[in-house]
């Protein structure tokens, strides 16, 4: 599968429990970050960083360690693969 943002979303959706997690991808722009897409629903818990590079930031809510690790691997595969 070609590595595009929409395919990343598709693969991420397979990992996420739509009712009990929320993960959203953002693009960094100075002090703000721009929302690109989300999977799952608002969980009203603190946001945590799942993956990050110079350009993108993947945030999540209500993510356990196992899911965080899987999502981080996927993020790195898509956005940090040059460095891996």
């Amino acid at each position: 599968m070609k590595k595009e943002i929409y395919t990343f979303k598709e693969e991420l959706s397979k990992l996420i429990d739509q009712d009990n997690n929320k993960v959203w991808l953002n693009k960094k722009a100075s002090k703000r970050i721009d929302y690109i897409f989300k999977v799952g629903q608002e969980q009203f818990t603190s946001s945590e960083v799942i993956g990050e590079n110079d350009e993108f930031l993947l945030l999540g809510q209500n993510i356990d360690k196992k899911l965080k690790d899987k999502s981080a691997i996927l993020f790195n595969d898509y956005f940090n693969s040059d460095k891996n």
Binding site: N26, A29, S30, K31, Y35, F44, S47, L59
Partner: protein
């Protein structure tokens, strides 16, 4: 290219055809209290509701809705005038090209940094940069100034959100500004009435109604989903202009799935070398009706009331639906770093009505039970555009906006407040904490407040 979506006749016909009744008004207010955006017909019904008892009902409804959606928070910001060169000739504006009495200047980056430091020393965290329309103020120049503001820090101070009020750009221009992380891009149409628009815009690019009214479409196409609209009330019939604002909102919602982030409603004011027919001037009572009806028409859109208005009117208008105000405002070029508090009309776009300091405004807000907020969390966590629509989920404000207001206000109290403001402010924070029923949430907020006391900054949920 987008089409001009304002049909004067359609808006005027709707205004002429609606017939308000007590029952209709009640139904419309209830729809709004259910946090649904009103239609053009429903809004026209409220606009034509002229009986005193109906107006009173609309005010009560707007107050109730404001409390429901925004609670007791008021977001604070300050404008920063970067340059007043202008190639337009707008009948109502002191910066018009034909005004030879005004001092024309543009801040150098060094002067801009001095202005930002002066603002940061007072506790400002959010600013809107204002530019005249000139080839000198192109997208590259605006981007450079935005970056300079973000990069300027004074001790613990920093501007965390930079909004823009400038001329409409092309898509490529907006893309450059998206790259540097602007907040809201604001373009005021001034008047949505075509004939009036042509009459008051004598020359310059601003004379092109269509280029301006589609300016935010191009911003959206460039990926800027955070935009602000506005009208300069006093140029044409205020009821028509409210309809224009709503039509613009509906257009953006239908085409881009997200409406404007904010609506502004400045009134015509005295300015250098400006004399204008007062036929459509808006009085205080009418301005309050405008605010209340806009609040009901667009429950989730921020409403901005600026320091053009005097302190008394601002105090009354806040409860009717205003969610953001500027405070400690200086609209003179170099105004923040210049110690002189006297207004010089030849260096400013208009005369301001509320020239109190940020601390004085905050003290009054606290006395009225409001929590001043410098929050920028949504835009730091990607909660914008389509994602921002989760704002509508019950609990969002309680869990995020309220706590974040407390945290940013606590920073202000620690770093910048006068003794009297600090006393009242600390008490109000304790009162607000006591109102939080969920113990876990309260503990989390208390932990962050303690971190702020221990010198940590920029904390948010």
């Amino acid at each position: 290219m987008s089409k001009d979506f304002i049909d004067d006749k359609k808006l005027e016909d709707i205004l002429a055809q609606v017939k308000p009744t007590e029952e209709k008004i009640e139904t419309i207010i209830n729809k709004s209290l259910n946090k649904e955006r009103l239609s053009l017909e429903e809004t026209a019904t409220l606009l034509q509701a002229d009986k005193p008892e109906w107006i009173e009902r609309i005010f009560k409804g707007a107050e109730e809705l404001k409390n429901k959606v925004y609670g007791d928070r008021i977001v604070l910001f300050a404008p920063l005038y970067v340059g007043n060169k202008c190639i337009n000739n707008c009948e109502y504006c002191g910066f018009k090209a034909s005004n030879t009495e005004i001092d024309r200047c543009t801040l150098t980056i060094k002067e801009l940094q001095a202005e930002v430091k002066a603002m940061e020393k007072k506790g400002q965290k959010r600013s809107i940069l204002v530019y005249g329309e000139s080839p000198d103020y192109d997208a590259d120049f605006i981007a450079k100034t935005v970056q300079a503001v973000y990069d300027t820090r004074e001790d613990k101070g920093e501007i965390r959100r930079v909004n823009i009020n400038a001329a409409p750009l092309d898509v490529e221009g907006y893309k450059k500004l998206k790259e540097v992380g602007i907040g809201t891009y604001q373009i005021f149409q001034e008047t949505y009435h075509h004939e009036t628009y042509q009459r008051v815009h004598h020359s310059g690019p601003k004379r092109d109604f269509k280029w301006r009214v589609t300016g935010l479409d191009r911003a959206m196409e460039a990926g800027i989903d955070d935009v602000g609209i506005g009208v300069l009330f006093g140029l044409y019939d205020w009821k028509y202009e409210v309809m224009g604002l709503l039509e613009h909102t509906i257009h953006l919602e239908e085409k881009y799935n997200v409406g404007p982030h904010t609506i502004s409603f400045p009134r015509l004011k005295e300015a250098s070398n400006v004399s204008i027919d007062d036929k459509y001037f808006v009085n205080d009572e009418e301005l309050k009706r405008i605010i209340a009806i806009l609040r009901l028409a667009v429950p989730y859109t921020g409403l901005i009331l600026t320091a053009r208005e005097d302190a008394k009117l601002r105090r009354e208008a806040i409860k009717l639906g205003v969610s953001q105000i500027d405070a400690g405002t200086k609209i003179e070029i170099n105004g923040y770093s210049d110690d002189d508090d006297e207004q010089d009309i030849n260096r400013e776009q208009f005369v301001i009505g509320d020239s109190r300091s940020l601390d004085d405004v905050i003290y009054e807000l606290l006395s009225d039970g409001y929590i001043p907020s410098f929050c920028t969390a949504c835009y730091r966590l990607g909660r914008t555009g389509e994602h921002f629509m989760e704002f509508a989920i019950p609990g969002f404000i309680k869990r995020y906006c309220g706590p974040n207001a407390l945290l940013t206000f606590k920073e202000y109290l620690e770093d910048y407040a006068s003794e009297k403001t600090k006393d009242v402010g600390e008490k109000l924070i304790q009162e607000k904490l006591a109102e939080i029923e969920d113990e876990k949430t309260k503990e989390k907020i208390e932990a962050k407040l303690e971190e702020i006391e221990n010198e940590k900054r920029d904390l948010y949920f």
